[in-house]
Amino acid sequence: MTSGPGAAREVNLMPLIIVSADDFSQGREIAHRVAGVLGYRYVGRDLLASVAEQHQVSQEELVQALEDPPGFLTRRSRRQRLLAFIEEGCLQQLQDDGVVCYGLAGHLYVRGIAHALKVRIITEVGQWAQAIAESEGVPLERAQKVVERRKEEQKRWSQDAYNLDQSDPSLYDMVLSLDTLEPDKAVEIICDTAGYRKFQAMTYSRKLMQDKALASRVRVELMKSFPDIKVEANDGTVVAYLQSLKKDQRKKQEAVRQLAGGIEGVRHVEVHVIRDYFGQAAQSSR
């Protein structure tokens, strides 16, 4: 690691910058350059190697979980588990501020964090299609169709995996269009914005990030036995929500307590058995 957490916390200024983009490679380039200009650490797809190793899965599978639109052959619970691995790995990295995060779907699970500056970089169909047409030597019309389909797929993926539409601008602090801005200008704007006091890290939002990281760590462990468990954490207290039939409620609750209790950082475990899953989902997404 380039800088220890202690060092980062001394300087109480740096936000997290979470970038996502319509066009993957353009977004990656801008995120890289922002990290370079600000001297922040870049957390991107490279992380997947260590995640894959830690959980004994292939890196390709992780990339597929992040990219493939939901289809007939999608194994949803498998994909959600892989995404949980990525989320856990990523949140671990985001405990330090002064990080630019890209390509790990962070914009869909880092929510309500005051010092996370969330940027969406959009590209209109026309320009993107032109780039594809040029680089791959296909007719423009076909490239346009490809682009349109890809946008639609991304939307469907986010809705299926996180129940959010990632093309909804209200998810972001800032939406930059590469149709009106040069990439240089976009980088400049992001760096300027990162300097606003508004996006500074503070005890409150750092604690929320710690809670999120703990929750995701516990969730990854519990998902082995309870694939659709939901976990919230607050200062070492973990609340797990799981669906259960009434008869094996006690058994499951006890099992969750056993599993979660052994995880580092967990002081107290509470298990809520829920029947109305959708209501719960709606509440936790508020």
Binding site: E10, N12, G112, I113, A114, Y196, R197, K198, F199, Q200, M202, T203, Y204, S205, K207
Partner: protein, 139 residues
């Protein structure tokens, strides 16, 4: 004045002051506690404090107004916001208005001590964190 850190603590919950005053005294802070924002503002009009700890949601005067007042009157002072009504928008607003830090209630005495130590460091004076270190071992 001594070289102790001068701290003003404003919260309309009396227990907060009663508990935090000795807690902060232990790390060498001189703490003045207020429950009424008007009185606190009057006091701050007279004297500069190194650190101001204020609740946000209070009757009559809002913690944000206290923050604005301090930032204008004593730009050097570090203002720490504590609130039970923590939300992202409120936190960002406080930071934008120049708060040094923002802590959500409920918090442990140590949480505030750490932030105050950080503020002291930013002000250029080290704090003896001895007492707090002992407690950490307990927790």
């Amino acid at each position: 004045m001594s070289d102790n850190l001068q701290v003003l603590l404003l919260d309309d919950e009396p227990i907060v002051g009663r508990r935090l005053k000795p807690a902060l005294a232990k790390i060498g802070c001189e703490v003045e506690v207020f429950e009424d924002p008007e009185e606190a503002l009057a006091r701050m009009a007279q004297q500069e404090f190194d650190v101001v700890v204020t609740d946000i949601r209070m009757d009559q005067i809002d913690g944000m107004q206290v923050l604005e007042f301090v930032r204008e009157r004593w730009p050097r002072s570090k203002v720490i916001m504590i609130t039970g009504y923590a939300m992202m928008s409120l936190a960002r607003e406080a930071m934008e208005k120049g708060a040094f830090d923002f802590i959500a209630k409920p918090f442990k005495p140590d949480d505030l001590r750490k932030v105050i130590a950080k503020a002291a460091k930013a002000l250029g004076s080290e704090i003896d964190f001895g007492a707090a270190e002992v407690d950490k071992a307990n927790g």
